[in-house]
Subunit: 142 residues, 2 copies
Amino acid sequence: MLTIGYLAKKTGTKVQTIRYYEQIGLMPEPGRTDGGQRRYGNAELDRLSFIRHARQLGFSLDAIRELLDLSDHPARSCEEADAIARRQLKQVEQRMARLEVLRLELERMIEECSGGRAADCRVLEVLRDHSECLTDHEGIGT
Amino acid sequence: MLTIGYLAKKTGTKVQTIRYYEQIGLMPEPGRTDGGQRRYGNAELDRLSFIRHARQLGFSLDAIRELLDLSDHPARSCEEADAIARRQLKQVEQRMARLEVLRLELERMIEECSGGRAADCRVLEVLRDHSECLTDHEGIGT
DNA sequence: TTAGCTCCTCTAGTCACTGTAGGTTCAAGG
DNA sequence: CCTTGAACCTACAGTGACTAGAGGAGCTAA
Ligand SMILES: [Zn+2]
Ligand SMILES: [Zn+2]
Ligand SMILES: [Zn+2]
Ligand SMILES: [Zn+2]
């Protein structure tokens, strides 16, 4: 019988986060001691590891919910799991493309500024006037 | 005299977002009509454009607050503005590096899965067992 | 005048946690 | 058996940067 603190340490999760996962139905309600403390088994440890690993790979909790469901039903087709992963990959690629645009623009404005008074700062100038930019970068950053 | 809706359209901002910026002190409290509606001048339009452009380049509202402050004081040194921009660039680079790791891992697991039952799905297997991964990717995704 | 658009305030929700306050339980050492 | 202190409990508030909705008031033109 495993305590919540043990699960936390094993998976690199904060204790509150595990309780949060329980609250939103991602982790099951575990058994309790007479005093009301949670006690887990190995299945729950595995489930939490899965969740954390998927989070590290950038999946949303909603996506993870579906992936866990598929993992719980081994006879089903894995098409949906693959589709979720492909969606995630596409999202990552899009984000990288957007970041690359920002990176170039930032690099350029930093390079061009030769210091001095704020009045002549290239960084501030570019921020004031988008026509100084080489790219469109519409949609908010990140 | 410009309405909030005009500013919104000109800058591609939602009306509520402009009111939100006012609430957190990023935009000044504008004058009002007798009926209580906000009316802006061109200075406010410029300020909002600055904010939006900086947001598109990924700066946080706190960073933008400092950048606006510097832009309002042209005699000051621009060192701090440059430092903020360099910090932002570094953050973008770090995020891209993390995303590249995710991208490779996702690409690999999608490629390796040949479809079929969820029991044999490579995607689910990798999520269950981090030792199937080639990289460490610690820290939560994005 | 009346239609219909825009504007107002206020509240709550998003995502995925994280932090805090104030109290209870558990396990080990004496 | 008793005490100590770490780990646990619930409940609620806060993060960033908005976004959505309710319910009402103002503004403009036909
Ligand atoms: Zn500068
Ligand atoms: Zn630009
Ligand atoms: Zn598969
Ligand atoms: Zn891994």
